[in-house]
Symmetry: C2
Subunit: 318 residues, 2 copies
């Protein structure tokens, strides 16, 4: 029997668990509410890990490791939570605690990194050595993989590509800088640009959704299908800004592929075709040659699969 | 007796050879003209490698590997020269040839990468896991190291940071793009900016050198010491552009240090103090925290030491 790995993708309200095999294939998954208390969270993770192994019909001896994807500020090598983004878990040595409790190797990493690792292991990047995963959602997140290894950097901040500045006097970003790609190419950024255009009196079918406060990235892509001029302009600007960032990443990292996930990527070709055109326009020909721009394949499972991969040493496998 | 490694830094006119120990310390070095004929080059490298081992007083059995730093377009994993920049060596399987001839492992890499590896092994970056080396000379070159490993990318182009664009309508770069950091922060770029300022009628002590065609980056830094306004403006612009690139690299890679080498770096604090100020201004505080900006330490020996390191697997040592 092959080894099995358990991944837990810890979110602010629910934790998603999965059991995967040595090739990163998801065999079984489950979901459970995240306790807001840290100690209860530890007990719950240990309990649920054993439980999902049982549900998947495997013995605990077959489980070769457990990985956690966590949103927030971590000491990754030590396996400690410093503090999390949407949960009051603080200063918790999760690795030590769960290893003692479960008797298997435990590793942790941040949510953007485990999602990238999932796609690299058994998603759109399977088989590739060098890739960059970009998540377009509320923000613009990233995960960088070189030689099949995740790049963390000295304090675990590598891959924060949403904060590359693309517009000199752009909008104020949550990080305090102006004109970060996140202010233009995230769902939030695109919605902001539509609102601004409407406020400036530009004609758009999106006026209703703006007025009612329901406007989403999805509405913008749908309006673009109907040739709405504001929607088209905003999509052009979002893809152009993202392509500039990708052109920079191409000369720095020379990845084989960019894998684009997150809510905005559900627009499929309505996002990908302007993005590919803009990338070709902005990137040195020899750095762009052969580079693929691919949709993420694992959706919401990327995080738990990648988390499971943290202890799998799959990068050294064939 | 410890293992020894030989490095050869192949230049257009001379090849530099060195013998280093397992910690990357240079024990002995030599220099010899580079034959323009490729076959003669191969013979010469094999002959000189044996010869320098003899000169260093070590037996051939102690030599655990040979590495070459080559300027040009290579197939690094296969150890083949495709074509070189300043030499008519083409389509040469150097690794296979030299391994058969010398009976030791041989590896090749490009000159910017081996210089970065040298600094990472036993230079300014010794002991650091993650760093970016930047060479400011005729152009702006780079080498990226993450987790003590050199990042190559899918076609060996990683680290070409000189072609990150920093000025929207900047000067035309050799690569065909406009406004690459190389057009502003290299020695060539700084000289160009001084010439343009003088041509526009701005007062400068550098007018003489511009007229006589002798102006160099060194002259610019010397004029800045005397508060020459053109020199000060050009240095500000060069360091500001480079700092912008470093701020991007900080969110993408989160290195522990930037190591700056090349001719321009000989200006020492006249370069480093405005560069550090500009970096602090342009970089997200949490990404800049603790990041060091250091002068390269190995000078012209970085390439041969790093080349020697290609087969040393030092990244797995303590």
């Amino acid at each position: 029997m092959g080894k099995r790995f358990i991944g837990i993708d810890v979110g602010g309200t629910t934790m998603k668990l999965g059991v995967v095999d040595e090739r990163g294939r998801l065999l079984h998954k489950a979901e459970t509410p995240t306790p807001s208390d840290g100690q209860a969270g530890l007990s719950q993770m240990a309990f649920q890990a054993r439980r999902i192994a049982g549900e998947a019909g495997i013995s605990w001896e077959q489980v070769a490791g457990l990985g956690l994807g966590l949103p927030g500020f971590l000491d990754i090598p030590a396996g400690k939570i410093i503090r999390l983004t949407n949960l009051p878990w603080e200063n918790m040595p999760v690795k030590d605690h769960l290893e003692a409790e479960l008797n298997i190797p435990v590793a942790i990493d941040n949510d953007a990194n485990v999602a990238a690792l999932g796609e690299a292991w058994s998603g759109a990047g399977a088989g590739l050595q060098d890739l960059v995963c970009i998540t377009l959602g509320t923000g613009v997140g990233g995960g960088v993989i070189t030689g099949r290894r995740l790049v963390h950097g000295v304090s675990g901040l590598a891959g924060e590509i949403g904060h590359i500045r693309v517009e000199e006097d752009g909008a104020l970003c949550g990080c305090g800088q102006r004109g970060c790609v996140e202010t233009v190419s995230s769902a939030t950024g695109m919605v902001r640009l539509v609102k601004e255009a409407v406020a400036e009196g530009r004609k758009s079918q999106l006026e209703v959704q703006v007025r009612e406060g329901t406007i989403s990235a999805r509405d913008i892509f749908e309006a673009a299908d109907k040739e709405d001029p504001v929607a088209l302009t905003v999509i052009d600007r979002a893809t152009d800004a993202l392509a500039k960032v990708m052109s920079i990443l191409s000369v720095v990292l020379n990845p084989a592929a960019f894998i684009i996930g997150g809510g905005v990527s559900r627009a499929k070709e309505r996002l990908f075709s302007p993005l590919r055109r803009a990338y070709a326009r902005h990137t040195l020909a020899h750095a762009a040659a052969g580079v693929r721009i691919l949709p993420a394949e694992l959706g919401n499972d990327a995080g738990l699969i990648g988390a499971a991969g943290l202890t799998a040493k799959w990068e050294t496998l064939g």
